[in-house]
């Protein structure tokens, strides 16, 4: 089975969760003996791990009449133009490459996948890692929506990262339920998980980690924190990350009079992230809409108890995490209070949570994707 995949980013150079998910999934799928993956991305940097797949940089594929096209490989202002260029490269590759199925990751690559389908006649599977409804809290950008919609209409099958996303695709994009499946994301095992330790300290640490944007619900974190601090001292709150809601959030913290208990260390990457999580007593992800949300799984890998919103896709597969509605700050505060107050709570969530995530494997997700491939090919 040969798959031609279109992606946008790939570790180690990642801007969001998309690259991490593509890496995990392709690696998990490569464990299947007869699986060959060709992964196309706009602009590889050369230091990507290519031991289990073949990587093609769109910027090194000559396009008739234009030669090699430059790509930023990021999310620039002329994104729509870049998506178009990517589509032209896809047309070339569709003629050159040998493959049985096309697999497009997220909306940026849907047009490329659709074009490759038209030229080669091979079936198209698209993978919805997020929709514009998640990013915009409902205020969708018509251009983005049109691209997403066309990709879904063209697809032979649609894979969503959670039932939540699947529901959005069916209801907001008018797709037939039979055409839409859920394959939950997994998490790469953390080889050096034992090297992260929790340092003894007087105060308990409650952490928010991620972009400080509308989608992530930072204000609910602050409100819950204010409730906790009204009852108990000895708890500190960390908001690691940056984003367009940062100033507003700091403002809110000041207005609630809890600035002395809040810390904003800015954007973190690499080992720093795990170190902070391992040191934290609670990780909170109050996302308003999260297609999957990998970070609670990463927190649990280093033994940090997680509180997540029901509006996060990962809530569908996690048992040893506390779940509340994103707007239910009372419940969120209650859970934070319990974890910092009762040792049994921390211990159970930490130990059982770690066991749980260690059993969520990309290999299994890969098998589900393979079954979908097989069914799509049978139908064609």
């Amino acid at each position: 089975m040969k798959a031609l995949m279109f992606g946008w980013e790939f570790p180690p150079h990642i801007l969001g969760g998309l690259g991490t998910a593509c890496y995990g999934l392709t690696r998990g799928m490569s464990l299947q003996q007869d699986m060959d993956i060709t992964f196309v991305m706009p602009r590889p940097m050369g230091d990507e791990d290519q031991s289990f797949l073949r990587m093609i940089g769109a910027n090194s594929v000559p396009v008739p009449g234009r030669g090699c096209i430059e790509f930023s490989g990021r999310y620039p202002d002329n994104l729509v133009e870049e998506i178009g260029n990517y589509e032209q490269v896809a047309a070339v590759l569709a003629r050159q490459e040998q493959f049985d199925i096309i697999h497009s990751h997220d909306w940026l690559t849907y047009p490329a996948g659709a074009t490759a389908k038209h030229i080669s006649g091979k079936p198209l599977v698209i993978h919805v890692h997020a929709t514009d409804f998640d990013r915009s809290r409902g205020h969708v950008n018509p251009t983005v929506y049109a691209i997403e919609r066309r990709g879904m209409d063209e697809a032979d099958h649609i894979i969503c990262v959670s039932n939540l996303t699947r529901q959005t695709v069916i209801e907001k994009y008018g797709q037939h339920p039979n055409k839409v499946s859920t394959v939950h994301n997994a998490v790469e095992p953390l080889a050096d998980a034992d090297t992260y330790v929790k340092h003894p300290r007087k105060d308990k640490l409650v952490t928010f980690l991620g972009r400080i944007t509308m989608q992530k619900g930072p204000e609910y974190f602050v409100e819950a924190a204010a409730r906790v601090l009204k009852r108990t001292q000895g708890v500190r709150f960390v908001m690691a990350g940056s984003g367009d809601k940062m100033a507003e959030t700091i403002d809110l913290v000041a207005r609630r009079g809890i600035a002395d208990r809040f810390h904003f260390p800015g954007f973190m990457r690499g080992r720093q992230v795990q170190e902070l999580l391992a040191d934290s007593d609670v990780y909170v992800m109050p996302s308003v809409s999260e297609p999957f949300g990998i970070s609670p799984l990463e927190a649990m890998q280093v033994g940090c108890p997680s509180i997540i919103s029901y509006q996060s896709g990962c809530a569908e597969i996690l048992h040893h995490a506390i779940k509340t509605d994103y707007w239910d700050i009372d419940a969120m505060a209650d859970a934070i209070y319990a974890i910092v107050k009762y040792p049994a709570m921390y211990k159970s969530l930490s130990e059982l949570g770690r066991q749980e995530v260690n059993n969520i494997r990309w290999e299994d997700a890969g098998k589900k994707v393979r079954t979908i491939y097989d069914n799509v090919l049978k139908q064609n």
């Binding site: 409730r227 009204k230 009852r231 048992h319 040893h320 506390i322 779940k323 009372d330 505060a333 209650d334 859970a335 209070y337 319990a338 107050k341 009762y342 040792p343 049994a344 709570m345 211990k347 159970s348 969530l349 059982l352």
Partner: protein
């Protein structure tokens, strides 16, 4: 001759309301009365009442030959008095037939037998008073919560005057042996131990209407016939279950009530008799001793305490709860006493189990723990206000003794003054 011993267990927990941590210290009411009332109404209407009616009919039709037992907790009787007094009347009628034994049980369906001897004693005493008040009975047969039993519990129960004790016919204590005999305690050979026949009891609860069950469809004749096939020496068959088997687990439409009602006819026809647990203990001499070093129960697959005490959450909750038992015993406050009983209900710990949460209304074991601990924190604060935990228990005891003895001392001192005055004159 074969004896059949039926026992129906009734317990309805008081549901706790959603109690957030910022209420600790300011709100001292812990219960979701609406939900509790709804549960009581549902259980009584769908199960307990029709069961009570059926048992009354069975006794009448068999001319008093059908005997059975009911195990009902004191807190459940309290709830019935409040929400379903008609059920109390039915139970009183059953008691009046002299064919139904109300066996002893800890008042609030607690795990006190494992955590505190004096609390266990208190609860049995309170339960005894309640049963005596309502039904004029005083059974010396004990159905401990969830059929908890061990050698230690046996000694304790014997000390408290319970001559017979009921527990699970757990495979790991019986191995190849049959539960269908009267056993004796290994540590107190005078104490009789009755063992539940797991298979025959659970079949009704879980499989009666299950079309994949090999014995489906079951009817009374077939059921009694199967009992006659047991070896002649097996003389006592204990069929005990939660009363909600009838009407809730197995809906009325499955014919479970008619099945039950028809049993005495076929059993008496085969020369079998029906006995209450105390009658069984009296009629049989018993032989083998059964040794139970670790507590067993009828719960879960493992038939031990693990469903209720197996994880860290449950252990922390129980440990915090029973740490104040001495202080609560010193308290006179009615509300504290009442809450103390209700917070001990083993169901609260069941809801904190990660795998099997019983009939929970919580989202998860964690959710159950958070809510319970918030309430417990408030309760502990109230206890602490009466008797601060900065004072050691022993010191507290002597202080209380001094206070209680004050009056006597005053009287004796007055007498002395009088004497001296007289002398002076």
């Amino acid at each position: 001759m074969k004896r059949i011993c039926y026992c129906f267990m009734m317990h309805i927990p008081n549901r706790l309301r959603r109690y957030r941590f910022f209420e600790i210290g300011s709100n001292h009411y812990y219960y979701d009365d609406m939900q509790t009332e709804e549960q009581v109404t549902r259980m009584v209407q769908q199960s307990y009442l029709p069961l009570g009616q059926t048992l009354t009919d069975m006794i009448r039709l068999s001319k008093g030959k059908f005997h059975c037992a009911i195990a009902i907790s004191g807190t459940t009787l309290d709830l019935m008095e409040q929400y379903a007094p008609e059920m109390i009347d039915v139970l009183k009628q059953l008691a009046d037939t002299n064919c139904v034994e109300f066996v002893a049980m800890p008042y609030s369906y607690s795990i006190a037998s494992e955590y505190n001897e004096s609390e266990f004693t208190e609860q049995l005493k309170k339960q005894k008073e309640k049963i005596n008040e309502l039904f004029s009975q005083s059974s010396t047969t004990l159905w401990n919560t969830e059929l908890f039993y061990s050698d230690d519990i046996s000694l304790l129960a014997w000390k408290l005057g319970y001559k017979t004790i009921m527990t699970e016919g757990a495979k790991h204590i019986l191995s190849w042996k049959s539960p269908n005999y009267l056993y004796l305690s290994a540590v107190q050979p005078k104490q009789r131990v009755l063992l539940r026949n797991m298979t025959l009891s659970d079949n009704l609860t879980f499989h009666f209407s299950d079309s994949r069950w090999p014995d489906y469809p079951m009817d009374a004749e077939k059921y009694i016939h199967a009992l006659t096939q047991l070896p002649d020496t097996e003389e006592l068959i204990n069929i005990w279950m939660g009363a909600e088997t009838f009407g809730i687990w197995q809906h009325a439409e499955t014919g479970i009530f008619e099945f039950l009602k028809a049993l005495p006819y076929y059993a008496l026809e085969q020369g079998m008799t029906f006995v209450t647990p105390s009658e069984a203990a009296k009629q049989l001499t018993g032989g083998e001793r059964v040794s139970v070093p670790e507590t067993i129960s009828w719960a879960g697959e493992s038939k031990d305490l693990s469903v209720f005490t197996g994880n860290d959450l449950q252990q922390e909750a129980l440990q915090k709860l029973y740490a104040v038992v001495e202080r609560v015993h010193l308290c006179k406050d009615r509300r504290i006493k009442e809450n103390w009983l209700l917070l001990q209900d083993i169901n609260h710990m069941h809801y904190m189990n990660h795998i099997d949460q019983g009939s929970t209304s919580y989202e998860s074991a964690y959710d159950a723990f958070i809510n319970y601990m918030n309430i417990l924190a408030d309760f502990l604060q109230l206890v602490n206000e009466q008797y601060p935990d900065t004072i050691e228990n022993e010191e507290l005891n002597s202080l209380l003794k001094t206070i209680n003895n004050q009056e006597k001392e005053i009287v004796s001192l007055k007498q002395e003054i009088d004497k001296l005055r007289k002398k002076k004159k």
